[in-house]
Symmetry: C2
Subunit: 432 residues, 2 copies
Amino acid sequence: MTIQKKAAEAKNASIQLAAVPTHIKNSALKAIARALEAKKDQIISANQTDLTNAAKDNLAAPLLKRLKFQQDKITEAIEGLNSVIRLEDPVGVTSDALELDKGLELFKVSSPIGVIGIVFESRPDALVQISSLCLKSGNAVMMKGGSEAANTNRILADIISEAAIAAGIPKGWLALLEARSDVANMLSMEKFIDLIIPRGSNEFVKYIMDNTNIPVLGHADGICHVYIDKLANIEMAINIAVDSKCQYVAVCNAAETLLVHKNIARKILPKMKAAFEKKGVEIRGCANTLKIIDVKAATKEDWQTEYLDLIISVKVVDTLDDAVNHINTFGSGHTDVIVTEDKARGIKFMDYVDSADVFFNCSSRFADGFRYGLGAEVGISTNKIHARGPVGLEGLMIYKWRLMGNGHVVSDYSGTNAKTFTHRVLDKKFNE
Amino acid sequence: MTIQKKAAEAKNASIQLAAVPTHIKNSALKAIARALEAKKDQIISANQTDLTNAAKDNLAAPLLKRLKFQQDKITEAIEGLNSVIRLEDPVGVTSDALELDKGLELFKVSSPIGVIGIVFESRPDALVQISSLCLKSGNAVMMKGGSEAANTNRILADIISEAAIAAGIPKGWLALLEARSDVANMLSMEKFIDLIIPRGSNEFVKYIMDNTNIPVLGHADGICHVYIDKLANIEMAINIAVDSKCQYVAVCNAAETLLVHKNIARKILPKMKAAFEKKGVEIRGCANTLKIIDVKAATKEDWQTEYLDLIISVKVVDTLDDAVNHINTFGSGHTDVIVTEDKARGIKFMDYVDSADVFFNCSSRFADGFRYGLGAEVGISTNKIHARGPVGLEGLMIYKWRLMGNGHVVSDYSGTNAKTFTHRVLDKKFNE
């Protein structure tokens, strides 16, 4: 089947899927979980083929690890499905109800976005997680995975698609794209695809963002900061900086730059250096940092680099405002932290830093859908519209305005003797 | 000042404006209203210059009418400002509050988007309305108006900008762009501009959408449908069709196509023809329509044309599903109406039609920010993300995740003896 055919089918399926009741969507998710369990030997064997091929191709060890989808990952995926089943159905929720005039009632009701295009790299678990979130939120999905995981992705997509269709989900709701050229084709399908969510390296996400008119939800860089205020508790600041940098270095919510208020720099920097060195972190300091501790010098390039590695840049700043300016200039709008004992200064920082996640006295690593209690997540967004920060089901929703009348026409509300609108808030839901 | 300089200033101003308290924003709006009143002679005279130039250039009558900004429009603009003052401040509203663990509290708090780029055609009232909505929502704004209105726009922008700055709004919050080349420059300023709202002809909006990576809020086409179900009340159906088509033909929420269920076609079409002819509407019918009434034949082109004129296309459909399919195929996702006495069929239509506004037994012309009770509107969106349908202040907002801790680090929540999250919903607002 051509990608155009698949896309048209997905669009049709999305219209039907938008109206599928909750119990059928949940039955389908349960059926998927059962099918993954029942066919786990086939999945493991398909994944083994991918792993063998990848080893032959000398795939790097971290990539091999991400590609692996054996018994423990299958168990995790099934647990993930169960948690998606437990989430409230986000479709059909009335967020506003207003009487415009007697008998003319307006409801703002949540609805799925339509067709979600996903492009992800080697991790096959992303396929299970994203397809289940799309199903629960009533969206059809077109997915392109990494070619290293071709066999694993194909069997997972077949199992998930078929189990859901057998449970009553419209045919065509999930399409797996396999050709490399399909990505470029997808990017020009604004007629069929309503939102693209890319998951992968920064370069890859940037490529997607630069090459499509379809809205893209996601983030390229994750340049996160920890600002240590003059009124910080020293021990807390060191703990938070170390956790933000080291708890998991290869992720977008890890800190890349430490900003230190000049009044506290002499006191904290030697201790910070000792703490980072214990963890094997290389420090690159600004000129004022170098006057206090003996570390490598930072260049301007360092302020705009996402190391994703055991490296941190350190800059001494004169004021809280300077810290905010540095973050708004060099940051990526992802997650930024202030450590201070002065709550008013903390709130000022949170008011003026223009990022998705602004944190007071805690680690940047908390910026995550599971930790935020969103259940699963489709990704983390640095967009300034629609959804920001960790994105769960809510980011896959939009709404319709539903207006119920009884023959009401606008000409009665204009000219002489025009009727007036009541605009009275209603305490009810659509179709109640 | 170069556009780059203006854009950088607007970005800086947006950071400050995001934290300006409600009372200062309202004082600024009052100051703008007073200044418009005080300087109305200068405004009227500047507008007179534009009108004289436009008449010399033989500008079409409807455009001249839109360009006119004299005493009555100034009064309307001041009324509009007063209504924006009365709207609740949309900034700083806590929509979610969750305890992640003891002492670690997460708040989802509304915040402005940042810098809004507006490109609008000749109507100078749009400048006042949009700049006041941006100010109230804490967004900086860069505006490019039509060159016909250059003198009017310049004096309005100067008055509004200066009155607001004198009342405490950050310098640079409003930038007027005057060169034609500024539009193209704006479209590539993703570093500074967070959202573009184009207002103008379909071709113009399409040009903007096709030529920028910045998110665009708006609509190109408005191809709206009225579907007359087999169970429709005939008289109501005719009233709604006539109002939807004729109450104001030149607007996006006017109906362009009438879909008629075959079971009711013989009964209603002759009456519909008489009603439309009384209003001077040309009917273009499908083959089955032509069997019932003597009208011009429609071509496939008609189903995808926004006439914005006294023309309507009519198609006889076999089923409600066929009507839905026609709308989802040829419509523009703007506003679509069902007329039926059967509420279940009405709701089915509303569930399956994938449009921003889905109406039951009322005119398509109700799709409008004022009628929806949103106060003023920045436009109507056919986007599938962020904001859909008439867009008021809410469409100019996004949110920040604010996390308040007391030294919390992620390493305590992983590995052996990991702490667990409480994820307890809090009944409080940020900073309460």
